[in-house]
């Protein structure tokens, strides 16, 4: 924990500055989009939030596997502390998408594959939290939590591929590993900045949340009593 504590302020301030600068750049210094006008600018919130909400789930899945195989307690504390943050970022992704949908699509909600699979991700995060909290026995709760996280991880490739596999109202990805981005570079640079900054800020939240989780779970240990 000592090293994380030392790195924490650097991560926090660097990410905060990166995110604020990218948002300012994206909102005020980039030109309008040729069809969407100004409403495209919600991309600087929507894309980072969607990216993080899926990445956090993958992190949870890896941590769950580590817990199930090596029984590292810290690993499952991490899973439990990521879940609420994942729920919030997924919620931001859904809401920002809806706000963008009104001027663009002409509706705030449709039941297409991308939106439904993201909604399922949101419900899964909430389900995982309530599952873990409904047990009296911590060890059992940890085990069921990590198994369920692994089962749910199939949803992540489904979200990713939903726009390719089915016809959806949601557009396909603009940034892919294999092709030239479909976003013009003047809009792309601040987008990358906002993704990096947002990821850093969420990482800080995960650090804080897992510290709390450790203290909560190890509250009977003498070092925690000394620390608090």
């Amino acid at each position: 924990m000592f090293q994380v504590n030392r790195a924490y302020p650097y991560i926090f301030y660097l990410s905060l500055i990166t995110y604020l600068l990218s948002i300012f750049w994206g909102l005020f210094l980039t030109p309008e989009d040729f069809v969407q006008g100004n409403s495209y600018r919600i991309i600087y919130l929507h894309v980072p939030a969607s990216f993080i909400s899926q990445s956090l789930y993958l992190a949870m899945a890896i941590a769950s596997a580590v817990y199930l195989i090596w029984k590292v307690k810290l690993s499952v504390y991490l899973v439990r502390s990521i879940a609420p943050i994942g729920a919030v970022t997924t919620f931001i992704a859904l809401i920002s998408g809806s706000i963008w949908g009104i001027p663009t699509w002409g509706t705030w909600w449709v039941w297409d594959a991308r939106i439904v699979s993201t909604l399922i991700l949101f419900i899964m995060y909430l389900g995982l939290i309530s599952l873990h909290d409904s047990f009296n026995n911590n060890e059992k709760a940890d085990k069921f939590l990590s198994i369920l996280v692994l089962v749910g991880s199939v949803n992540i490739p489904i979200i990713k591929m939903s726009v390719e596999w089915w016809s959806t109202l949601h557009q396909p990805a603009s940034i892919t590993l294999s092709e030239k981005p479909a976003i013009d570079l003047v809009m792309l640079y601040p987008l990358f900045g906002s993704i990096i900054g947002f990821t850093g800020l969420i990482t800080c939240l995960v650090i804080l949340s897992s510290k709390l989780q450790i203290i909560k779970r190890e509250k009977n240990k003498s070092w925690v009593k000394d620390y608090v």
């Binding site: 198994i147 109202l169 396909p172």
Partner: protein, 134 residues
């Protein structure tokens, strides 16, 4: 790796494989029901009954939009098939010829009587100046 951990690793892989296989079969069974809309060429293949509410999606064909007071009619095409659409109402700002559209309505005399028209945005983002240069 210790034998007990190896066994646990196998369990983890088994959980992943089972859930992947399970969802694969569910998705296979649902097949095209997960599609948000039909394309114009699919409509006549599927023999959709009239008066059933369906969604069709495609491109608004160039020079096909006819406006008359509040009514608007246009042709939706997927470059293999096309279908006429009639709509009485307000279309979204992004609705225009040559761009994507999703129409909710029902089939009547090989025409879609639309109840709702949604614009579909593609993955391209660029400033207006570059558009003019093209």
């Amino acid at each position: 790796m210790k034998p007990v951990r190896k066994k646990r690793l196998q369990t983890v892989l088994l959980i992943l494989a089972t859930s992947a296989l399970g969802s694969f079969f569910i998705i296979r069974a649902l097949d095209s029901k997960l599609d948000f809309f039909y394309t114009p060429s699919e409509i006549f293949l599927e023999e959709i009954p009239e008066n059933k509410r369906i969604k069709i999606g495609g491109m608004v064909l160039e020079n096909s939009v006819i406006r008359e007071k509040t009514k608007i009619s246009f042709i939706v095409s997927d470059y293999q098939g096309s279908i006429n659409v009639e709509f009485d109402g307000i279309v979204p700002d992004l609705f225009k010829e040559g761009s994507g559209v999703v129409v909710l309505g029902y089939l009547k005399d090989k025409t879609i009587i639309a109840e709702e028209v949604l614009a579909k945005h593609d993955e391209n983002y660029m400033p207006p100046s570059i558009d003019i240069e093209k």
